[in-house]
């Protein structure tokens, strides 16, 4: 026999039920429970602060620390620490201001606000924002560097396919875009070199 559940006795809200939210913890929308026995009052439109990175992308928060291999088939916002490799292939990676990455990164597009130590391979475009520090070699189709970004390493602009869209051009100084026909990526800085040791003899001495 069907037994009424306690919830069934609750008054039915006039408001239609909210659509189910995605299971992702990224969803920034909040579901306010409808108050029973209340006339439908037009609710105040609270401005939703929808951060673009939280809409449909995975999110790793700043307290998260990962060591190992990170792969995925969706866009990712990464604000924590990672040591190892990050492979998103055809998806975008945003490294937040708290992001501390010691990893080789493969993605389509990469936007860096935080700190990256490692080589970057991006088929699309790389953006280095003013707060970012990137130490490693970058191989990409396009690159945008904001004034104030710190970069140490090599930049290799990949040759574009003929069917690829013409790259945008921006004014230098504010944000520079480069899209030259480049060459295949290489590892330029991987060869060790015997450092000169000892104290310096003065180069002012007459020879």
């Amino acid at each position: 026999m069907w037994k009424a559940r306690p919830e069934d006795n609750k008054p039915v809200s006039v408001n239609p039920p909210q659509p189910a939210q995605p299971a992702s913890p990224l969803a920034a929308t909040s579901t306010t429970p409808s108050t029973p026995a209340q006339a439908p009052v037009p609710q105040k439109e609270t401005p939703k602060v929808m951060e673009p990175h939280r809409a449909d992308v995975g999110h790793i928060g700043k307290s998260v620390s990962i060591r190992g291999e990170l792969t995925g088939s969706e866009d990712l916002y990464l604000d924590g620490e990672i040591e190892g490799t990050v492979d998103l292939r055809d998806h975008s990676l945003i490294i937040g201001p708290n992001g501390r990455i010691k990893a080789t990164i493969s993605a389509r597009d990469l936007i860096v606000h935080g700190r990256v130590e490692g080589n970057v391979n991006a088929t699309g475009r790389v953006e280095l924002r003013k707060s970012c520090t990137l130490m490693g070699d970058v191989a990409t189709g396009r690159i945008v560097i904001e004034d104030g970004a710190f970069f140490k390493g090599a930049i290799d602009i990949r040759e574009r396919d003929d069917n690829e869209a013409k790259p945008e051009t921006r004014k230098p100084m504010a944000a520079a875009t480069s899209a030259g026909s480049g060459m295949s990526s290489g590892t330029g800085s991987g060869i060790s070199y015997n450092a000169a040791s000892g104290t310096q003899g003065s180069f002012l001495d007459p020879k």
Binding site: I143, K152, P172, S178, G182, S189, Y193, A195, Q200, L204
Partner: protein, 223 residues
């Protein structure tokens, strides 16, 4: 005058503590100057006919330089040597108790490239501001990293303009203009005269001097 006095005179300010933070100056505006040496370096690069150019920029990261050089088809390497030299982890206590940068330690983590790798090196005025213990090892290393017939462009102050001789970030504005963005926190360490420069770069095949009206000597070295 004794040789130590000479050294003190030439390397004035070498012992002065440097500012902890270095950043773009808000007060000092950007200035532009025509750079004959840069124009000649770019002409040399084009005439070399090299398809895969490798260019090393030793100044602070400049989006304009990276954009310009990659559009030329070059592979761009960037190392802010002066900023790295501020890292206290490279300091080693000397016999007299003073702290000095250990070049062998420094070059393990910086400018660690293969010999004969670069077609051009943009040194800017880094040698004028670099700690003394790094100057000669740096030049020796650059010479090894440069390809034969590769070009190195360096600037030297012709006279000490005091606090006005600020270290600058150099932005290339094609074809031969440089935009100088002052960066505070670094002090001019020394004034090289022409003989010092020739001694310092003695292993290079040729040296061309261009004296600007702003008391900057541009020197284009060819290995």
């Amino acid at each position: 005058m004794s040789s130590s006095d000479n050294l003190k005179r030439w390397f004035r300010g070498a012992d002065a503590p440097q500012a902890k933070s270095a950043g773009p100056s808000k007060a000092a505006p950007r200035t532009t100057r025509r750079c004959i040496g840069l124009g000649e370096l770019l002409r040399n690069l084009k005439s070399a006919g090299e398809q895969k150019l490798c260019v090393l920029d030793l100044g602070p990261t400049s989006p304009a330089n990276i954009a310009f050089l990659t559009e030329m088809g070059a592979r761009v390497f960037n190392e802010d040597v002066l900023r790295e030299s501020q890292d206290p982890s490279y300091l080693v206590k000397q016999e007299d108790g003073s702290l000095q940068i250990d070049p062998s330690k420094f070059f393990v983590e910086n400018l660690n490239y293969a010999p004969d790798q670069f077609d051009a090196i943009l040194c800017w005025d880094v040698p004028d501001y670099l700690p003394e213990s790094l100057v000669k090892p740096l030049v020796e290393r650059l010479q090894v990293m440069l390809k034969v017939k590769g070009n190195l462009l360096a600037f030297f102050h012709a006279k000490d303009a005091g606090p006005e001789s600020l270290y600058s970030r150099h932005h290339i504005v094609p074809p031969d203009i440089l935009e100088l963005e002052p960066i505070q926190g670094f002090r001019l360490q020394r004034i090289f005269n022409n003989r010092h420069i020739e001694n310092l770069f003695k292993d290079f095949a040729s040296r061309k001097f261009f004296l600007g009206r702003d008391n900057i000597r541009e020197v284009l070295m060819v290995r």
